[in-house]
Symmetry: D2
Subunit: 342 residues, 4 copies
Amino acid sequence: MVKVGVVGYGVIGQRLADGVALQEDMELIGVADVSPTLPIRALKEKGMPYNFYLGIAENLPQFAALDIPVAGSLEELVQKVDIVLDATSAGVGAKNKELYAKYNKKAIFQGGEKNSVADVFFHGYANYENGLEKQFLKLTSCNTTGLIRSVDCLDREYGVEKVAITIIRRVADPGDYHRGLTNALQIDKAPSHQAEDLMTIMPHINATGILVHTPVTHGHIITVVATTKKKINKEQALEVFTKHPRIRVVRIEDGFQGNASLFRYARDLGNPRGDMYEIGLWDESIVESGNDIMYAINIPQEAVTIPETIDGIRAAMGMQTEGVLAVAETNKYLGMGKWMKK
Amino acid sequence: MVKVGVVGYGVIGQRLADGVALQEDMELIGVADVSPTLPIRALKEKGMPYNFYLGIAENLPQFAALDIPVAGSLEELVQKVDIVLDATSAGVGAKNKELYAKYNKKAIFQGGEKNSVADVFFHGYANYENGLEKQFLKLTSCNTTGLIRSVDCLDREYGVEKVAITIIRRVADPGDYHRGLTNALQIDKAPSHQAEDLMTIMPHINATGILVHTPVTHGHIITVVATTKKKINKEQALEVFTKHPRIRVVRIEDGFQGNASLFRYARDLGNPRGDMYEIGLWDESIVESGNDIMYAINIPQEAVTIPETIDGIRAAMGMQTEGVLAVAETNKYLGMGKWMKK
Amino acid sequence: MVKVGVVGYGVIGQRLADGVALQEDMELIGVADVSPTLPIRALKEKGMPYNFYLGIAENLPQFAALDIPVAGSLEELVQKVDIVLDATSAGVGAKNKELYAKYNKKAIFQGGEKNSVADVFFHGYANYENGLEKQFLKLTSCNTTGLIRSVDCLDREYGVEKVAITIIRRVADPGDYHRGLTNALQIDKAPSHQAEDLMTIMPHINATGILVHTPVTHGHIITVVATTKKKINKEQALEVFTKHPRIRVVRIEDGFQGNASLFRYARDLGNPRGDMYEIGLWDESIVESGNDIMYAINIPQEAVTIPETIDGIRAAMGMQTEGVLAVAETNKYLGMGKWMKK
Amino acid sequence: MVKVGVVGYGVIGQRLADGVALQEDMELIGVADVSPTLPIRALKEKGMPYNFYLGIAENLPQFAALDIPVAGSLEELVQKVDIVLDATSAGVGAKNKELYAKYNKKAIFQGGEKNSVADVFFHGYANYENGLEKQFLKLTSCNTTGLIRSVDCLDREYGVEKVAITIIRRVADPGDYHRGLTNALQIDKAPSHQAEDLMTIMPHINATGILVHTPVTHGHIITVVATTKKKINKEQALEVFTKHPRIRVVRIEDGFQGNASLFRYARDLGNPRGDMYEIGLWDESIVESGNDIMYAINIPQEAVTIPETIDGIRAAMGMQTEGVLAVAETNKYLGMGKWMKK
């Protein structure tokens, strides 16, 4: 059993902990954070299903006042685990890295950190082998993670030469107040970093794109214009998308009218927090553009990187040398793809 | 065991079904709807935890094509149950009533129906006794249900003579596309129907108010200016709010910055669908206005009427003659108030 | 002087009237509508700069009560003019057409009507000649009008073979309550009608695209991936965009961060209603995608079709046989392009 | 002719300059800012109707590069004027005050500065006399300015003892990207500072209130529960509101459905920037709450403080000793109240 610790118990950290707890070949030793935030209060209200470790000793009285049990310090957590999933705010991970290095522990950082924090910029499907036995991995960001799922499966089947993407970005998560946008579409300088990140992971593909922020919270939508080695039609694209366990092909006609439908559906499924690990891909969005294929995907930003991060544990810890087997194990424990057998 | 059926499996119907399923003295016989909507597809994907009955026989082939088992017709469901919870779209309930009457079954309608559909306009805390043994009840709407919780407890303790409310209404639920508002605050003619509804339930109180629609989805906020029989201070108000199992007193300082914080917290608690049965009430919103007391509450519109509807079952079926005991039973099975013991 | 009447005095009709009033070779005879809407009340408050004609005689008392002078009936207006600009709600124009035909008058319909309402589907730059001397024209919709401006100028200079567009659509105008979207991105079945409309106007180009509705009001953003006959670089694209009097090239660096910046800037310019006739095009959005060129434009939906509609008057009335001269006259009277000489 | 300078040419500064330029007994000497922002670029594009003075000499090359004429330094502007309207960002005004004091000039600060920056916290209607001949005034903020208009006129006619307000605050201006809120209602700790500010200006009134931020841009809505010395009815309230030249009584029935309707109407009126100096007050919002009166107003946040600031010039410069005459002069030059004679 690989021992895992989660550092930073916010939007991503909570979901990483839940995802790891489902892996039968991993053990979640505990989670760490620095103050009694709402997620920590929720953890307490749920009866402390996970042990909590404290990153700032001076804040202990706050936890005592709230009767929240503290299992130890962050440093103690690090010592107890084989690998840390660092989901702290951007920049903090780079500092924490010193602690992980001090105890010679492995760590996986999230997309907010700089690439230089890690030995490898990692995606479970697209470059699993690169992560094998490495000490420090950095996951692709949420948009890039989901985008690569769709491009990678097209690439494996038909060969992809070029992609031009338009990211219609949700600007905040549900419950965010520290960032937001009101009645505006905001454009970033092109090319988007997601396109450049895709090229880092899949260097044989030419990628560029434009990103526009929109005032919504329930998932990014990305349109992709992909140039394949030889022209494919809609049915050929649909076929590879449909059999991918981390892609959920949906239809507008069935009621999946937009990003919020996928969120509502995940809630109605009873998924914890209304989360969805799969990206959505709209059947009716797929169109042929001359020799290119164009389609639209939905990125559930809060949960989408969880599976690939867990793939990263398998790679870094050498639990599985074959990427295809590693992702299958992650999928199995997360229950992904079950819905395909309907 | 009282046998319950839920007719209309949308936003409210799904939650009613889940709530009834938790009551140890009730049995959920099944749910009914007319077409394979997303909630029905989610029910199927979850493995049909509830039996499904079909309201429109001609749509059977649609269900067969999707391999969704149909347990019978709506009429059959009605025959099998003691009481129906009707959560259909506004106006449909009035038509369905004929069917319920035909088989001499009891029914509880939701706030969208006209008051005339029912014998009693009902709220579990404020007028439980009026609902006893009645055939047809109509629940207060979501805003009125939550508002009355807060006014009723003040009234019981200190006597309330008058309330003036401002409803800052969320205009749509997460995942709604058929209604919405974009970058506008829309005002309704005053007085708001919620104030008038409060007076129907609590005729000894003078109530009026103004309603403004806002482009958000995660809960209405209502400010209340309440005139009590004799002046009370903030601490006195806080005391009665704090001990109410259907009111969750929260603090901005702790991170509950607005309606979306309560939704996020409910998700982090692992509540199914991220739902919350309690209204939120902000400690730091309570202020004295001369002899009046003013405060703000949050109404989680998707789930707030579930407890009072279940109270309605207890009343209509005569399961419990004392309101105070009835609501306590509902609360126990829904797990309400557990969080107060932290 | 060509005599012009505007029928339908809403968002578009008001702006058509203002635009025509600026043309020194046209005379605005009057505007028509059916009830005392806010735009009519504003017309009255401004002192009736335009004569008003009434489409529904029975509503005359409403106008009398408000002391709004009525110059005559819709039918009288039609008789007095050479050409009608019909800006009524979708579907009404088709009915009004009978009246225009009865008096053998010309008319230009807006994008909401079906193509079959007109002899020609028209764009001032892309197919001016097709509109010459025709009785009934239909303008391209706002998105298509702006999109074609950018594609047409590239096409004339370098030849365009194919475009794949992503329309990030504003879902309502400022002040709309009858439609809206709240916290959702809604996707339409592809291909978008705008891509298909472009092909109707420019049949030598292969066009497809995906449209996503977003909850904002100040302008659509479209990203375009254009395949030119031979590869062009960013500078070449920028050059043709920069010299187009109906395209305003802007820079994020200068403060044009999104669609709302262009609206704010138009307000600060003192443009009536804060309108802008030009589409915006972001310099920093232009990127090369292999042999394709990609860029993003902003469509000010309320005003963008005004210039092309006035071009349509010149075409239908045969005021000018050369498209290039016709658009130059429209531009001169609307003051377009003045800002380029800074 | 009183010589006026405007320092800070942003949302408020631009409108102050336009308002002063309309006063026939004042002369706008110029406006000052520190960098070539969009408003400055718009000033240039309009042909420099106002002289521009530069606050940071080192930025002169940026202006030269854009061919924007600079008339002198901020310090020179201050020397040339009798009074400065400081509309810089919060906190900057306090620093600028030293410069104004150095040359013994008068100045009026906007609501963002601390009260201590000025000798008097000022409102044209409610405490004009306090501002007479003072060197430094601070205007009430936008919400407080509009709120006081409505409370002051009730108070003068009927006596007001107490108000309890709910501020439904627009969170950003059109075109803001640096602040925003997405799909959330955010609540502030009560009481709101606007209620406390009202008490500073009108110390005989007891005021409290709750403020909720909403994700919209076109005007705050405030509901007011006012306790008058003796009970008044709706007609009595309506009468005093209707005759106030800075209050526009509107009707939902006529099409004024919310804050965005007032903005749209101002655009359709041809008001520069679509601005409105008047607050809106909905006829159908006025209701009696026992002995109190309740109503809702709309605050057009970008322009509402302009009239009262100009009143402040009249007070500080001693141009008029009677408040009632001073506001009448401001109103006349701004064209306020003209619309009442319809």
